[in-house]
Symmetry: C2
Subunit: 457 residues, 2 copies
């Protein structure tokens, strides 16, 4: 008789696991049922800001594979609008509710993949019945926001709360749609995913784009009227608003996991081993934004909710479920984003992370160009490296620039992955031609400066 | 008394060595004289095609530092239009001729940097008194070609001989200037710096641009008349031409070195150690396109004439000359170029190199996109990986694509530098956001396919 796999959560991680398992085990060997409470499977959550802005025109473009494809091509029984309400590990049963009909179902399992993703952090003040306050965690969230933006009277004034990735991307999206945009950030700067000196470049660029960036300001409440949002109350005064977008970050979605007794780590994510098995829980796997992984540079547990990790982790779980062998060896903290034409990238540890992890280090910041300085279209690129002292081992890197800056983080991410020293990095054989780099690539110039800084110590 | 350093060749390698030495030793400790037979110092030879095309408007933009800067800021006695005619190692003397006055000078040295670069390969048929045949090795060569293109009657028909980097870049340059362009290549394909399957993509793109690409055709002679070039005679017939550009590659410029008894390696380049000291020749250093280096993947000697290596090697020589410590640990064969908007990149070994070096290997080719497939501006990118069998160690990589493809070779070059296996590479934490990559970066997809190919063996 076939084993039975239940997948809780039908987005990137869950469906990657399901499809990989299916590639290795056919329906006679493994029956697969996947539940998701939303209307969609396997979509690009990272693409939502670009669909809201109108850069991506069709919502369906964000969907990598729809339920019909999973059913027909992968023989996976996808059940949308089904909210899993309980996982009973003892009886090996999942309880779910059909959100359209209210019907309750119970399904037995032999293997379970927990892939519920993350939930947005919602402060108390955001709990309102008034219309016009949105998260952008799911495609359902994004659809609700787009409906609101298209509805008469059309919102003109947007307030984005939180200046992380989602915050800056949504500020861009609102700007592109023609709204006036205020970004409210509690810290001294938005984009705290990079060090303050690099974040200052981002804040300047955002202000130059016409975004009203208010930092060091906390939201205290919402002003509503006639059932609609009217403004945001902050420690720096009232900001009028027709739409409020929440970008305060996310936390692992572990409500069901906690009830079922799955082990959580210090970051609040589910603890898994290298093969994405939930620790001490036979037959249960977890992947994606709900799990905790290891940061390869600090050696500490980390929760890094990103589609690229979710896909990799899901694939690893699925290969192992299918009888193969694969591991997810952790992350180095690479991330890229942009605000209009300003590109921002990071990998590894920021200065504050390096200190917290116990490293001594030096930092080096250089300004160079993406192309040969004399080549048309050459634009400034700022590269920051952080290196352990005295070993010279690279600990982190950050880049802020215009075109062709973001993906320059990749060679640095690979150098970090391989524990290279900045001294070794000065010799790296990177691609050179005038349309693509100065004869000394900005990455090499930064490595030289970091190596000099180490010697000067 | 101060030591005396003579630099033979005032371009990238020589002047990088001179300036680094100067940074560490002032004029009272080290006197520096640099000879160059041309009119320029420290210019970007790789930029010449873009100045000829008109993309770079001002020739002086290609010059990183002029002689006045070297004299005033670095206290380096630069003597242009001086051709060194002999290096006497026993008497520690350099003989040079002033090409403008004919005067002969002799200068003593304690230390010598040999940085004469490379000379273009000139077949017998190219030896002509007729006007209109050009190499593009030096800025003087490029200036002569530009003068010819601007002179009446304006040339309309260009023939580029040789389909390597210079050949394809010059074909683009001629096209941009409005000439009709024929590229003649003796091999079955242009761009043999990548494997034939990848080169075919380049040849197709060149033909679509309107370049008449003739392969498997050898040049047998030139047709001249009234002292001008009229056509190129080939094994495939006569090609009319008002201008002929030679792009047949270069070889190390070692005439003086041979006379002086400096040791050459199997590639014809000067043999140096890790610190850029000429082997068995105390007080003599060499750097740039005239030296032989080691290919870190094959372990074999290699001659890779590229401005980026010349700069690094010159810097290493200069640091060591100045009393510091630096090494040049070899190359992995990274190179990037473009033909109009088609970008081409490689690193490591091609299939034929891998075979010659004795490796068994598998290859994997994938087609993906530079951005998320749904993101506007997403364009096809083809990535090829070559991996040792059965170890899985990456041996080489090639990329052909449109925008933002070329520098994607950098993470692969760093992976190669660190002897990563394609299996390890599938887990790399590369930058992901929809404007910059699909959720599975093309590099990761290629690594997965190569890992699968290894398992299938």
């Amino acid at each position: 008789m076939a084993e039975r796999l239940i997948v809780v959560g039908g987005d990137a991680a869950g469906m990657a696991a399901a499809s990989q398992a299916r590639r290795r085990r056919d329906g006679s060997d493994l029956e697969i049922v996947a539940f998701d409470r939303g209307h969609f499977t396997s979509y690009s959550a990272c693409g939502i800001p670009y669909w809201i802005s109108g850069v991506v025109t069709d919502r369906d473009d964000l969907i990598a594979r729809d339920p019909a494809t999973f059913r027909e091509k992968f023989d996976i029984d996808v059940r949308l609008r089904h909210e899993v309400t309980r996982i009973d590990l003892e009886r090996r049963t999942v309880h779910a509710r059909n959100l359209d009909t209210g019907a309750e179902v119970r399904e037995p399992f032999d293997q379970l993949v927990y892939a519920t993703g993350a939930v947005p952090i919602m402060p108390d003040w955001a709990d309102t019945d008034a219309q016009g306050v949105f998260g952008v965690q799911t495609l359902d969230d994004g659809s609700a926001l787009r409906d609101w933006l298209d509805r008469e009277p059309r919102p003109c004034r947007a307030v984005v709360v939180g200046g992380g990735y989602i915050g800056v991307e949504m500020a861009e999206a609102m700007l592109r749609r023609g709204l006036s945009v205020t970004l409210v950030e509690q810290a001294q700067q938005p984009m705290s995913t990079v060090d303050p000196d690099m974040a200052a470049l981002v804040a300047d660029a955002m202000r130059n784009l016409g975004i009203d960036v208010r930092t060091g300001v906390a939201v205290t409440g919402l002003e509503t009227g006639d059932g609609r949002i009217r403004g945001v109350l902050t420690t720096g005064g009232r900001v009028p608003a027709d739409v409020v977008v929440l970008g305060l970050g996310v936390r692992p979605n572990t409500a069901l996991a906690t009830d079922a007794g799955l082990p959580l780590g210090p970051t609040g994510g589910i603890r898994v081993d290298l093969r994405m098995r939930v620790v001490d829980t036979p037959g249960v796997w977890a992947a994606g934004d709900c799990v905790e992984t290891v940061h390869r540079v600090s050696g500490q547990p980390a929760h890094v909710p990103l589609g690229t990790h979710a896909n990799k982790q899901g694939r690893v779980a699925g290969i192992n479920l299918g009888g193969g062998y694969a591991t997810f060896p952790g992350v180095v903290g690479t991330a890229v984003t942009k605000v209009c034409d300003l590109e921002v990238a990071r990998t590894g540890l920021r200065e504050r992370d390096a200190s917290r992890a116990g490293f001594e280090f030096v930092s080096a910041v250089v300004e160079s160009t993406n192309r040969a300085g004399y080549f048309p279209g050459a634009e400034t690129m700022t590269v920051k490296l952080i290196a352990e002292r005295p070993s010279g081992r690279l600990l982190g890197a950050q880049i802020v620039g215009r075109s062709e800056a973001a993906k320059r983080i990749d060679p640095l991410a690979v150098a970090l992955w391989n524990n290279m020293t900045v001294d070794d990095m000065t010799a790296l054989d990177l691609g050179y031609a005038p349309p693509y780099a100065p004869v000394w690539d900005p990455v090499l110039i930064a490595a030289r400066k970091a190596a000099d800084a180490l010697r000067a110590q």
